[in-house]
Amino acid sequence: MTDPNIPPRKVIPILASQDKGPIEPPEDASAEMIALYEAHKKIYPRSVSGVFSNWRWGMVFLTQLVFYGIPWLEWGQRQAVLFDLGARRFYIFNLVLYPQDFIYLTGILVISALSLFLFTAVAGRLWCGYACPQTVYTEIFLWLERKTEGDRSARMRRDAGPWTADKILRKSGKHFLWLAVALWTGFTFVGYFTPIKELGMEFFQWQMSSWETFWSLFYGFATYGNAGFMREQVCKHMCPYARFQSAMFDKDTLIVTYDEQRGEPRGPRSKKADLSTLNLGACVDCTLCVQVCPTGIDIRDGLQYECIGCGACADVCDTVMDKLGYARGLVKYSTQNAVAQHWTLRQTLLHVMRPRVLVYAGILASVVLAMAVSLATRIPFKVDVVRDRGVLARVVSGGQIENVYRLQVMNATESHQRFRLGVSGLPGLSIASDQEVGVDATQSRWVAVRVQGAYDVAPAGSHPIHFEIAAMDMPGIVSEKSVFIVPR
């Protein structure tokens, strides 16, 4: 593994070093003072087309259709997906969720995390390369940049050149388009929290509230800055997820690899030359793989933490191989084991099915199933029982013992509902106040409930009881526990 002639690369070590014995601190001979705060080196990714690029554009369209489109969908009389923070009601198609339903958000986050583990174990940073908003918006912004300023070489030439009218026009055109997309994104984001049609009306009448304006501009600015300027800096220096993904890699994880045995020694050659007579590998050292890389790395140095697994280098290398008439796949998705042991695609894919993947998939499937069952059997109302804060128990006429409770009945449907209250747990318990409660659509209501029992219903002390609250116009019974106190 260790060749003293090749300087160490910045490569993520998958396994701990096998070297025995400590390394002595090297000589200081070549040491020099360097600045530790590195000036930003702008990356000019070259445009690329190919299989993986098409996948990425497919994901761009899919995710953005969902993000920009969903706020405009209607469900009955309301917006289909709306997170009404002021009223604390969260509408997702037919669901009306209360803050008490936060467990579902937890479930979604658990599912997201487990999906990430699974995808990463199978095929590395799929999320980063194809679905992450940072990648998706950078892709859109890069496309706008190409439309206004041209491809890599034109952009580099123009940036190095003087400020001409043409340069100013193209640059301002680019920023205008960027800002338009960014503001639309910010507006859409706020549209998930404020009904987007009203928001649109407010915008045209210049009457958006200060918070709506602030969040539109904030999210818009974040989009503009992240996709226009920060780009790979976010992945390299800000994203925590980028750094812990390597924990889910092993030697059977699909990553973007360079076939070193086939490619080296690299070097330019005539297209007509016979490869077998030259002392060269398949790599023509055209550096296109470096030019297309959105994070500016050279994949031929091996797996690096900057690699977001987008496959741009694989796409562009395939076009070069096609031109030369060489076999595709000098740079391709493969695993470390497959490259080392020259496995076929079938063998490689068979090794993907390993315990780690099966365990991730099993846990993921059970969480998804649990969440689906929970949502399908969800009773669309909730009840909280709170014993009255002031009164423990009192004796009322006829020697009955009375306890007072406050019931908060939360209606999670979109129509007025009537509920019948019942109580059980001690013989002869009855509700002395109204046994029917009406609650308006999506509202919650507090009602004071008086429960009475005979003076000798139980010995003095606290006794567990249950309230049963049944919806009268739909199926569903909720049982809530409380206690009935018999005074001394």
Binding site: P22, I23, E24, D28, A29, M33, Y37, R394, V395
Partner: protein, 305 residues
């Protein structure tokens, strides 16, 4: 304003804060350069645990600007707001948490003022019929009264039920406002000596039970009737009480301090002191008006609905 006798701790804390901020800036400056073997293996030459070598991975410069922004922000913030020891901040005349609270309260009061003004101009009977006023009244009741009287206003032992027609001190709107504003002290002196022997007390208790038709010993009740004269000074010869004195009606089968012979005997022997605290300091007259209307409405259902 300081809790300490000298301002030593204020200067100590303020000094540490400023020195720490400046030290951060200095650290940022001095760690901007390092030795690295850029020519050979691009490490800094540091080796830990035998084989861990520090690579030369420079921090992006824009990140350094974030540090500088935090330093500038903290200095500006500490100049403008209280934070450095007891230094009140340049904005101390315009901004303190207490001022902010007062402003928010004033803003809230200004918003509801027209509403209260509307109700203040209305009679209690009309206010108690207004659904909005009832909503406000209920919230005032929940926050200020339900701790004793219960959230359904039906009270418990020692705390009167406000939904029945029985009033110790009078149930007219004016009397309710008076009770709320000034509070009430209800007092029954120990009467055992005036009534007579322990047996006499028992007899009186049975007579009191008989007034509301409760289960009692009729012989004892008959004997107790003459001894009831000691009670009649406050409760009246007919036992119907006296609202001017706060003496309870003994004929209505409502037992604020407990039901049965034993409870009555104990009351006669020991007396009772009971208090409703004054709410005049906590609530404005406008709030009092709405709250009194709500309470009045509780026992006047038929008239309000």
């Amino acid at each position: 304003m300081s809790d300490f006798t000298s301002n030593f701790w204020s200067i100590y804390i303020g000094g540490i804060t400023v020195v720490s901020i400046l030290a951060c800036a200095l650290l940022l400056w001095f760690s901007g350069k390092a030795k690295a073997m850029t020519a050979s293996d691009n490490t800094t030459g540091h080796v830990w645990d035998g084989d861990l070598r520090e690579m030369n991975n420079p921090l992006p410069r824009w990140w350094v600007w974030l540090f500088i922004i935090t330093i500038v922000f903290s200095l500006v913030y500490l100049t403008m707001y209280p934070g450095l020891g007891s230094y009140p901040g340049a904005l101390s005349q315009k901004w303190t948490q207490k001022d902010q609270y007062d402003r928010e309260v004033a803003k809230g009061n200004a918003e509801v003022a027209p509403l209260y003004a509307k109700f203040t101009a209305m009679k209690v009977e009309d206010v108690s019929r207004d659904p909005q006023a009832r909503g406000i009244g209920e919230r005032l009741f929940m926050n200020n009264c339900s701790q004793c009287h219960g959230s359904d206003a039906r009270g418990s032992k020692g705390f009167p039920n406000l939904t029945d027609a029985d009033w110790l001190h009078g149930g007219t709107p004016e009397k309710i406002v008076e009770t709320l504003t000034l509070g009430r002290v209800g007092q029954m002196p120990p009467m055992a000596a005036a009534v007579g022997s322990a047996d006499d007390v028992k007899n009186v208790a049975n007579y009191v039970l008989s007034l509301s038709g409760g289960p009692h010993d009729s012989v004892r009740a008959a004997l107790g009737k003459s001894k009831f004269a000691a009670c009649a000074a406050c409760h009246g010869m007919d036992g119907k009480g006296n609202q001017a004195l706060g003496a309870s009606n003994l004929t209505d089968d409502i037992w604020l301090h407990g039901y049965g012979e034993n409870a009555i005997v104990s009351m006669v022997n020991n007396g009772k002191m009971n208090q409703m605290p004054a709410q005049g300091e906590k609530l404005t007259t406008e709030q009092m008006h709405v709250l009194a209307s709500y309470v009045w409405g509780l026992s006047n259902h038929s008239k309000t609905q």
